[in-house]
């Protein structure tokens, strides 16, 4: 019983990190049909920004976190407005090549700025302290991640369902031409969604730094995991990403507890089975 609870707890924490990073990519892929393989690089940027702010500039973690998220969102918005929007009409191959190239540029930049070693984010005492749940002790940071993940999911769902921006977003996804005719500012929606996705990726990068260490190759190393979550969850579906991230996170954690000799095989087997069952994703928009 303790084993199941452990798997559930660790699995949900890991799944939340994957969700926070993946949700931005899911929206971009579903909304703009834009294959953005530099999404992992945005997560890395967020993480690096927070790590450097805490270590070099001496900011407190609670200040560095929102600043890093904002900075990544801003960077994402600027790149989208200046460069990426010209790629929307190009073929998928062009988009893939460009964004992979962008990833490599960001990897090299990270290496040049901070060196190849792992960047640690010094957690504040509130998050670093162990929390005793009775049947096990775990760092408070894990509980924080789960809480933030739920908050992100709730905020995203509420934004899409109840705000004007959400209405514009859904209209732009379903019928871009009609939406433009009705006066919905499609470019603004695209830029804002991309920036929000990048900001969320940055948030995931900071929160996930304990589970997925920040080093220059982070951008490509964990891209596969994010792509799997997006594909399995269904492109453009926020609840789909949440479901997929939690499910796959739990499978990965369970395999560490029960079948550690098999490495990541169960994760990818689960992905293959889920995609075979629902090729369009768990919850297609």
């Amino acid at each position: 019983m303790t084993l199941l609870l452990n798997i559930a707890l660790d699995g949900v924490a890991y799944g939340m990190v994957l969700f926070i990073i993946a949700v931005g990519m899911s929206v971009t892929l579903g909304l703009m049909r834009f294959v953005n393989l530099s999404h992992g690089a945005f997560a890395m940027c967020g993480g690096y920004a927070a790590a450097l702010m805490v270590r070099e500039a001496g900011f407190s973690f609670w200040l560095a976190l929102p600043l890093a998220v904002l900075a990544t969102g801003l960077a994402g918005g600027v790149i989208e407005a200046l460069v990426l929007r010209h790629l929307y009409r190009r073929s998928e191959l062009d988009q893939v090549l460009f964004t992979i190239g962008l990833s490599f540029v960001l990897i090299a930049t990270a290496n040049a700025l901070a060196g190849p070693q792992v960047q640690l984010i010094a957690l504040p005492p509130l998050l670093a302290q162990p929390v005793d749940l009775g049947w096990r002790t775990l760092p408070a940071q894990r509980l924080f991640v789960i809480a933030v993940g739920l908050a992100v999911a709730a905020t995203a769902a509420w934004t899409v369902a109840y705000t004007r921006f959400g209405v514009w977003l859904r209209a732009a996804v379903d019928h871009p031409d009609t939406a433009a005719t009705l006066g919905i500012p499609i470019r603004l929606v695209q830029c804002a969604s991309f920036a929000a996705g990048a900001a969320l990726a940055g948030l995931g990068g900071v929160l996930g730094a304990e589970l997925m260490p920040l080093e220059p190759y982070y951008a490509l190393k964990y891209l596969v995991l994010v792509l799997v979550v997006v594909a399995v969850g269904g492109m453009g579906s926020i609840s789909g990403s949440l479901l997929a991230a939690l499910a796959l996170g739990t499978v990965e954690t369970a395999s560490k507890y029960l079948l550690s000799g098999w490495g990541s095989l169960p994760f990818f087997l689960a992905m293959a089975l889920l995609l075979a069952w629902r090729p369009q994703g768990l919850l297609r928009r």
Binding site: D10, P130, P139, S260, G263
Partner: protein, 405 residues
Amino acid sequence: MPQTRDLSLRTRRRAAFSTAGLCALLLAAAFGASPALAQSASIKVGIVAPFSGPFAHYGTLFRNGAEAYVASQGGKLAGKTVEFIYRDTGGPNPGLTRTLVQELIVKDKVDYLGGFVFTPNALAAAPLAQQSQTPMVVFNAATSAITDRSEFIIRTSYTLWQVTVPLAQWASKNGIKKVVTAVTDYGPGIDGEKAFKSEFAKQGGTVVESIRMPISTTDFAPFVQRIKASGAQAVYTFLPGGPPNLGFVKAYNENGLAKAGIRFLGTAETDEYDLPKFGDAAVGLTTAFHYSAAHPSAANQKFIAALKARDANAVVNYAVVGAWDGMHVIQKMIEATGGQRDGVKAIAAVRGLQWESPRGPVRIDPKTRHIVQNVYLRQVQKRGNELVNVELQNFGPQIDWGLDK
């Protein structure tokens, strides 16, 4: 230009031969013009290690140790200038290592090979060293079987058997009866697990569970939970240095294992490169290892001074010592062969070599070609503002128990 199929057979054959001839001419010119004429008295040492990626610090540590040694000998070894050729493996990558070592031997014509952080890389290079009779000095890779793969391999680092056997004996003598092992699932990790299990069983203890963690693991919380659930009094562990080591020790601290009374029995985990990153949570961790920067000896002071003279921020740990002593062995080989390329003579000369290393008195075992050295029991303590591995006990000279079967 007429299509190929329109040309007669004779014309095509003529074209092929003249192209081949032209290529041969160009190749000959390229090789002829190469500095084979620069057959100076300089000895070429190829150092194979990661210089990029998450394990890039090893490359820097080797470079520091090797170059500091040459500088400490006055810039020359046995009267010859030494030219280092560094090649980057990026991490555990046997295919790439094989290619790099092949290039070093055939193209750069190195006299000695050094370096090798990871066991799979060392194993990939072994047949090449054997075939070309190039002495290969392993500065780090710690699986016992490596020195068996070629007669031309000398090792100046350690093996898991060497440091684990005395640790198991100590654990048993100190009232620990049930241990769980948690190692990374590759060569040295499995060696460590086997070594601990066999020695601990000999001493009358039990290993209640043997956990093997995949080498790509970044999240160690599940494994730490399994350790807690196993009911053991202590955990014996081995992980490669860098991110895996850091992640595991942090998980050990953050998940309350120490509070639960599960003692930490490690080997390389608190090495001086990673130690500062753990913070005060690392105080009290027990390890058995062959080198501590806090080792109180004149030779160690000289070694540290030589390193700091080149770079005041240099890290002083077992990898640097491995390179330092490795270059000492290479120096003796150069002396014995008079600077000529003679692998057989070089290896014969250093079998049984004895000297005072920064880690303590050492010698090269004539049978296994592995270094015999003192292993110490250390505990992490805070001295001033620094965390150091304080040597509490000297287990005496240990051979490679893994090859003693």
